[in-house]
């Protein structure tokens, strides 16, 4: 299916209930055809909440008075062991942006350790140079998630008043550098709540279409983290469940082969209802604070809305007719030798 921006925009315009229902039927059929009756499961591990940025919407904003923590290699390994013993095989490692203490040199040994224990290791970290991404790939990283947050430069500038993240272009071009460095899977997205969601969705779709054509060997996913509660009462442009669902359906229809991730920012009921309608991967048991899998001393990035265990989520998936996929990767496909 060839991407066409005007057809995509049409999928995002206000629809009647019956039109929305038709989109859902189409999306459901497409998801089943391309991804089968399966849902992949992943888990995030926050390695650090240290940050030198001041993103107004984020709980790790440097101006927030929170308890900061960066896991040592030993602490990270212990968290990885806890996660592995829960039954996961797909891990997403996250940090804030604090290159002095949490840079590429910090990440490399942790990635190497994770790669020994998990088939699939992905990162969601600060934007890097091509040479840095190469090091991360060589250490065993298979996937990278980097959200532009907003494609609107003015809002981007307002939302990021200080710190290296002020540089819109360095972030915007990060996926290309990572893909040039050999990253196999690339996750894109934006933060829902900062700007008009329809315009953001169109910008993301064009970004995605361009990258897929240029870096044709890479696999792509999208995700739509939605702000439910920003720190310090930051006014947000709330996106309703209906609009959120319509956007997921639109991406599924326009990009039938692109995976869609849904995190525990969303509540259990919404997550369950979206199964089969476009979403292909969900997280489970997420803690958004460093060290959160053993104790709860540090502060979290955002409030988790779905606290079910992996076991409970697997049981729900099975009841709804989905095969929960724990392993869908081999280290042979990522580790360069």
């Amino acid at each position: 299916m060839t991407f066409n921006v005007s057809s995509f925009a049409k999928l995002l315009t206000t629809t009647s209930d019956s039109e929305l229902n038709n989109l859902a039927l189409k999306a459901k059929k497409s998801t089943q055809q391309h991804f089968g009756n399966t849902i992949q499961l992943y888990i995030p591990l926050y390695l650090s909440n240290e940050c030198c940025n001041s993103c107004l919407y984020c709980g790790f904003n440097k101006n927030q008075k929170i308890k900061r923590q960066t896991l040592s290699l030993e602490e990270a390994t212990s968290q990885l062991q806890i996660i592995k013993s829960k039954g996961f095989d797909n891990i997403l490692l996250l940090t804030g942006e604090h290159k002095a203490s949490v840079g590429v040199d910090y990440l490399e040994p942790i990635i190497q350790q994770a790669q020994k224990m998990f088939s699939y290791v992905a990162l969601e970290v600060f934007p890097c140079t091509t040479a840095e991404y190469k090091k991360l790939v060589d250490a065993g990283t298979s996937g990278l998630t980097i959200y532009q947050e907003t494609y609107n430069r003015k809002i981007y500038s307002n939302m990021h008043p200080a710190g290296p993240k002020r540089d819109f272009d360095f972030r915007f071009t990060a996926p290309e550098r990572a893909l040039t460095a050999g990253m196999r899977k690339m996750g894109l997205g934006f933060l829902l709540g900062l700007s008009d969601w329809q315009t953001e969705a169109i910008n993301l779709a064009e970004h995605l279409d361009y990258l897929m054509k240029k870096y044709w060997k890479a696999d792509f996913t999208v995700s739509f983290p939605r702000i439910h509660e920003a720190p310090n009462g930051l006014p947000i442009q709330a996106v309703s469940d209906r609009d959120f669902v319509q956007m997921i359906l639109a991406f599924r229809i326009a990009f039938p082969k692109v995976g869609i991730l849904l995190s525990t920012r969303e509540n259990a009921q919404l997550r369950d209802n979206l199964l089969g309608l476009g979403v292909t991967q969900i997280s489970a048991e997420s803690k958004t604070n460093p060290g959160g899998y053993s104790e709860n001393s540090s502060d979290e990035q955002f409030k988790v809305s779905d606290n079910r265990s992996l076991e409970e989520i697997i049981s729900t998936l099975e009841k709804k007719g989905f095969d929960p996929v724990i392993k869908d990767w081999s280290t042979i496909l990522s580790k360069k030798q």
Partner: protein
């Protein structure tokens, strides 16, 4: 059918229907569909299974006494990756059979002929039984045969598309030229497509998506079983030529 076994690398197969194990809603349904299909060849993506773990939820649903396990290299983007997956597979699964898939573009999974040929040559020398997934390219089919492939597996249409035999004319040439079994591998979306491939003279077909995502995977597995048998019998019987149904012979003045 008795006396019409398919022979691949010295092993006889009573069924000419191969099944893929992706996309099923549960291992239990997959297992029931495999039984209903009466398949004897089951392919499993190496990246989906943990071969060293006997409790792996796909593997422990396969009857490996009845079925040949055919691990596949899905996800490999180069000959090198496919070879390394195959080596890992042989080391841990006790089988030297490998369905070779080299698909550098992850969305449509179109096979890379050049890399597939390189990997086939290497793996055959290493003692593998290699069943390569390929474009419906008659020249590549001959090159793979010369390289020692056990079968060739040309695609009927893009994988997962359920569109049937869009490459029919090329598959006919591959069948006409081949000294090794030809297995139509991708795009078979309906029992009628499977039947058509068998009528053309394909030696077997491989089906996955069409069974896995059907409303009733078990019933359709049985339908594919029947369709493959019907198509094979049609081929063996020799299909009558299509005719315009002309009323009389132009030689009626001569032949009384």
């Amino acid at each position: 059918m008795i006396g019409d076994d398919l022979k691949i690398a010295g092993r006889l197969f009573g069924s000419r229907l191969f099944i893929g194990t992706g996309k099923f809603s549960s291992s239990t349904i997959m297992k029931s569909a495999l039984i209903a299909s009466e398949t004897e060849m089951v392919t499993v993506a190496l990246r989906r299974v943990d071969l060293s773990n006997p409790d792996d939820h796909i593997l422990n649903h396969l009857d490996l006494k009845k079925c040949q396990l055919l691990p596949n290299t899905a996800g490999a983007q180069s000959a090198d990756e496919a070879i390394r997956l195959a080596m890992l597979s042989r080391a841990s699964s006790q089988t030297n059979w490998i369905k070779l898939e080299v698909t550098p573009e992850p969305r449509h999974l179109v096979p890379d002929g050049e890399e597939t040929l390189i990997a086939t040559k290497f793996l055959v020398k290493e003692g593998f039984v290699v069943l390569p997934y390929m474009q419906a390219d008659p020249i590549l089919a001959k090159k793979l045969e010369d390289a020692g492939a056990a079968t060739v597996m040309p695609l009927g249409s893009p994988i997962g598309s359920n569109k049937g035999l869009k490459t029919k004319e090329l598959i006919k040439i591959i069948i006409a030229n081949s000294n090794i079994p030809v297995v139509v591998d991708a795009g078979i979306g309906a029992p009628s497509h499977a039947c058509e491939a068998m009528e053309l003279g394909a030696d077997a077909v491989l089906v996955n998506t069409a069974i896995a995502i059907a409303n009733d995977p078990i019933l359709i597995a049985s339908a594919f079983r029947s369709a493959v048998i019907a198509g094979r019998q049609g081929y063996l019987a020799g299909l009558a030529e299509e005719s315009e149904g002309e009323a009389s012979s132009p030689l009626s003045w001569l032949i009384k």
